[in-house]
Amino acid sequence: MIPITLTVNGRRVEATVEPRTHLADFLREQQRLTGTHLGCEQGVCGACTILLDGVPARACLAFAVACDGAEIRTVEGFDGDPLMARLREAFSAEHALQCGFCTPGMLISAYDLIRRLPEADEARIRRELSGNLCRCTGYVGIVAAVQRVLAEVPKAATAPSPAAEASPSARADTPLWGKIKTALGAKPKA
């Protein structure tokens, strides 16, 4: 057993883990954060996608012991986040889920897609979401939900800044992201 310290959804967590325990099992079994779902445990299905140091990662392909010092954000960690609030509303309005098993990973990937590629068209959205499998919806509703949120982000505010694209870790605090947040926050609820 090896001691680790990491941040999970803004909370500092100290724990001891077996080296073979992957991050998704750590989150589900030791932190009781069962929103992170496990489908294939080999990186294919995307259900366990979480944000690791601000960027999407497969929680089943990262060992918890290797995440010492990391900042983890799971689907439970987005209360009060305006973009995730809009995404949840859009997923509901567009029937972007049926059984909901893929939804946590879909939301994380969609959240990253909108921040990284605000100009994405339908083909790009489909390509970017190709790493998240859904066996219910046929993806039409999911793509529509992402398009709905992208349409709410004013195009004038989304000219990608080169600095934001170059450094994933710096992305959260870019002026672009500030503008998106402001635009979404100012929008009345549907």
């Binding site: 073979r20 445990e41 392909l61 290797a66 790493g131 170059a166």
Partner: protein
């Protein structure tokens, strides 16, 4: 499934990593883990110890070394895709990186891990062979450089000796005249490809390369075909000519695989040479 038990160390330096590799029992290097972790979870790999090189900052750097760039083994696909650095490769690496698996995988998967894994269907083996890149292997005796076509020995087999680790890739700078093409036949975005074609023509450096990947073994360079294409243009490398060259170099390919790979190569050549 869950991985079998293993010991875990996360050294801070290459020297400490080499020490950890040398110690008793079977040890495997853990880079980004995007290929190794599935193998562990499926228990296809059951090493006694993992040596996690993710904490070695020196392996995440890209340095300009005059006529080439030195790309640290732990540079991620996503970092290359986002193109924060000018590589003098006319965007080939960024294009290749963007086509690897999915963003969540690219954020952790690394160029060095992929090359050392030497999956025949991986992108970096074929692309880096076409670019005449070199691998840097560190061992007890110091560093040595190995041309990628010598580094890749077969499916999942490299020239790394026991106790050695891959620390960097040396990427030669292309001239302004260079043209490249890279084409994969993939049934679903992000999946392993059926066939890979990579082409590079740099008239100023007098270099012409056509590489076929996603075979059952290491990527296959077709040097004679590339020389003919460079000399006579795309008319000399029609699909029939590509297929004939490939049949000669890889006689065991069945008709479907032969056609898949010839088409991938032909499309890469067209990307590179079409006006």
């Amino acid at each position: 499934m869950k991985a079998a038990a293993f010991d875990y160390v996360a050294p801070q330096t290459v020297a400490a990593a080499l020490d950890a590799l040398d110690a008793e029992g079977e040890a495997r290097i853990l880079a980004g883990g995007q290929s190794l972790a599935p193998l562990l979870n499926l228990r296809l790999a059951t090493p006694k110890r993992l040596v996690d090189i993710g904490r070695i900052a020196a392996l995440r750097r890209i340095e300009d070394r005059g006529d080439h760039h030195r790309i640290g083994a732990m540079v991620t696909h996503a970092a290359i895709e986002d193109g924060g650095m000018a590589l003098a490769d006319h965007g080939m690496l960024a294009h290749v990186a963007a086509g690897i698996a999915y963003r969540a995988v690219r954020n952790r998967g690394t160029i060095g891990g992929s090359l050392a894994h030497a999956d025949p269907s991986g992108d970096w083996p074929s692309a880096l062979m076409a670019l005449d890149a070199r691998a840097v292997a560190a061992g007890r005796a110091g560093e040595r450089e190995i041309a990628i076509r010598d580094f890749l020995r077969g499916a999942f087999a490299t020239a790394l000796e026991p106790g050695e680790m891959l620390t960097a890739i040396l990427l030669p700078k292309l001239s302004a005249a260079a043209r490249w093409g890279y084409y994969k036949i993939v049934r679903k975005a992000g999946e392993f490809p059926e066939a890979i074609g990579a082409a590079l023509f740099d008239s100023e450096r007098r270099r012409a390369r056509i590489v076929i990947g996603a075979l059952g073994s290491a990527p296959l360079p077709l040097d004679n075909l590339a020389a003919r294409a460079a000399e006579k243009g795309i008319e000399a490398v029609a699909l029939d000519a590509v297929e004939a060259a490939l049949r000669e170099a890889a006689p065991d390919l069945d008709r479907i695989a032969l056609r898949h790979h010839a088409v991938a190569a032909r499309r890469a050549i067209l990307e590179a040479l079409a006006p």
